[in-house]
Point group: C2
DNA sequence: GGAATTTGTGCAACCGTTTGCACAATCAAG
DNA sequence: CTTGATTGTGCAAACGGTTGCACAAATTCC
């Protein structure tokens, strides 16, 4: 016989019995939304009894009855990735304010996402925050088919069928490119992220657009995309670029880890940063201000991103007919020491 | 009328009706643990029907009946802190393997921990992983009083009333001190963490013990504890120590962030690391291999820690009478470039 | 080939709340 | 002092599964 929970756990019924009222009255008295329907005196008696007995409502039972779990699921590709921590933190702050708790599912970017989502749905989560989608993700189809409120964070989906909160990737790239060109760079390469992610895709296009806007020929701006947002992948891409285009004086990376991989490649080739080659990252993740040299990067406020996504999700839950919205946060360029005038420009300037 | 979940959500009863059997039979057929009690043919028919109708069990309902939520709560002081991400990651990996999902509560180290814990209990979590306890924490009393399986991670409690998984702080300090003394340092200061945390307390004592074991006089090993595990606090403590003991040639920090704060203080005073002063950190958090200079530190495998804690929790849940255990993980010294021979020793060596 | 056992399915209670409805008591209005 | 509205409480049926028990049918055993 299961279900007979540990003795000592007080139920609503017991409180009712001790207080000498009907269970429904206890329920009403203890629920702030309905306690006005019970006389003051009884409310007090019940509250006292509940307190004395150490009564704690069983939210699982309440969930079953009301159909509301007050649980939100968050799918992240890698909790250990420092980018997601602030997103999580911001989201859970916003959700906690409304009485929601977050169930975190760390899903190793393989094909298990859908399983996880299903498992969360089985647990009656009321909404989903998705931080791990690709540009064309079956997860999105799933949420739509299930009419499950969901919001994308950090990455968006090609068809914009769900609300999302993202950084303005085009602007980020423009900031990076403008900064480098203002310094005098004229041979700028991009290390892009995986094209399957919106960030990889958009930052790549943003880079090209920024280059074109400044009138630089595409040949002067070669691109390579890394297979993953990882240091090793960045290093490999940087090597490929330097091999094919030795004239490069600056790198724009789609992500800080890629930028750090770029550092590795430069070091391996005996090139100094920023003296020989400048590097710009993206995200401004913790500690990149301390690496050598401190990384110039495009800052994204991931905490705010998480907060806003949670907020959007709450809105969507309240009003399922609300239109899907894309909230675009403006990134900010943080100039540190990994960018400087290119040697040629410096020389030219010295000569002029 | 709530509780009438969205139309289109298939229930057990509907599956039963379509398959022409009793709901209880469907329940048994779909549960791997009981499906052997149903004939092969019927199991298949039911499975097909369920599949066809897109049936998804409502785990909330199941929880209510069985008293098992398959939910584990994790209390962390700060999700955004990069130390906790791998703990979370390791724990959720282990728990997911047993069908448990994790509910993360990010609790800002104030007094709300108990509230959060209560809220998790109300949601019928089956166990708690506590990564945010102090050496004498009311949360521990609460878990014991509630007979709630709980395991401490990263930090332990003075009275060892709950199982915990921690790093061997004494050993960590010994590794750090031995390394520095082997290099020739004889004036080593410690920047400790908050004494209210077991890590702060134990690392401080470990440091003193290691110093004593090598026969160094306590006067040659001054200590300061930082108010928090934060860069600024480390910087302040380093300044205090350098002010009072200008002869210091090496710092042992209780945590990497404190060590990085120490870098800040050295820089502010025009001292070079490691040329003038060596620094050893603790944790080996992500990216400290890239800061300038790459940090020599005591590595703790936080991911493993989280995994083991989850494992211990599962054991404790299976057998509530099991004795509490303390699992001590051995840390490892990772030597990078922030430690070197002290100038005096180098000079002496050069002269000899 | 009849008794003893096993197998497969149905029945109904139960987990702990919530809530629409009913109804008595109290109050306000005329 | 009736009539009508309001207030406070109880009743019982949910919510969607799970499971002990009962019992018919199929199987095994001697």
């Amino acid at each position: 016989m299961v279900g007979k929970s540990e003795p000592g756990v007080v139920t609503l019924r017991e409180v009712a019995e001790v207080a000498g009222v009907h269970p429904s009255t206890v329920s009403r008295a203890l629920n702030p939304a309905t306690s006005h329907r019970v006389s003051k005196a009884v409310v007090r008696r019940i509250s006292e009894t509940a307190e004395r007995l150490g009564y704690r409502a069983n939210l699982v039972a309440a969930s079953l009855r009301t159909g509301r779990s007050h649980l939100i699921g968050i799918l992240v590709p890698d909790i250990a990735n420092t980018v997601f921590s602030p997103i999580l933190s911001g989201a859970s702050e916003r959700l906690a304010a409304e009485g929601y708790l977050t169930v975190v599912a760390d899903v190793p970017d393989g094909g298990r996402q859908l399983d996880l989502a299903r498992s969360l749905v089985a647990r009656q989560v009321e909404g989903l925050l998705l931080a791990a989608v690709t540009r064309d993700d079956p997860l999105v189809d799933y949420c739509i088919a299930q009419r499950l409120p969901a919001v994308l964070v950090n990455r968006s989906e090609a068809r914009r069928r769900l609300s999302s909160v993202v950084s303005d990737d085009a602007l980020g790239m423009q900031l990076a490119v403008d900064h480098l060109m203002d310094l005098g760079h004229r041979a700028i390469a991009q290390i892009g992220g995986p094209e399957s992610t919106s960030t990889g895709y958009n930052r790549h296009r943003g880079f090209l657009a920024a280059i074109a806007a400044r009138g630089l020929a595409p040949e002067a701006a070669p691109c390579e995309s890394a297979e993953a947002y990882a240091r090793e992948a960045g290093q490999a891409a940087a090597h490929r670029l330097l091999e094919a285009h030795p004239e490069i004086t600056a790198f724009v990376a789609a992500n800080d880890l890629l930028a750090l991989g770029c550092y590795d490649a430069l070091k391996a080739r005996g090139l100094r940063c920023p003296a020989d080659v400048s590097v710009v990252g993206h995200n401004d993740m913790p500690l990149v201000d301390l690496v050598a040299p401190p990384l110039t990067t495009v800052r994204i406020s991931h905490r705010e991103m998480g907060w806003e996504a949670a907020d959007l999700l709450l809105q969507g839950m309240r009003d399922p007919s609300a239109s899907t919205r894309t909230l675009v946060l403006a990134p900010q360029l943080v100039v540190r020491d990994s960018t400087a005038r290119p040697r040629t420009a410096a020389r030219r300037r010295g000569a002029g």
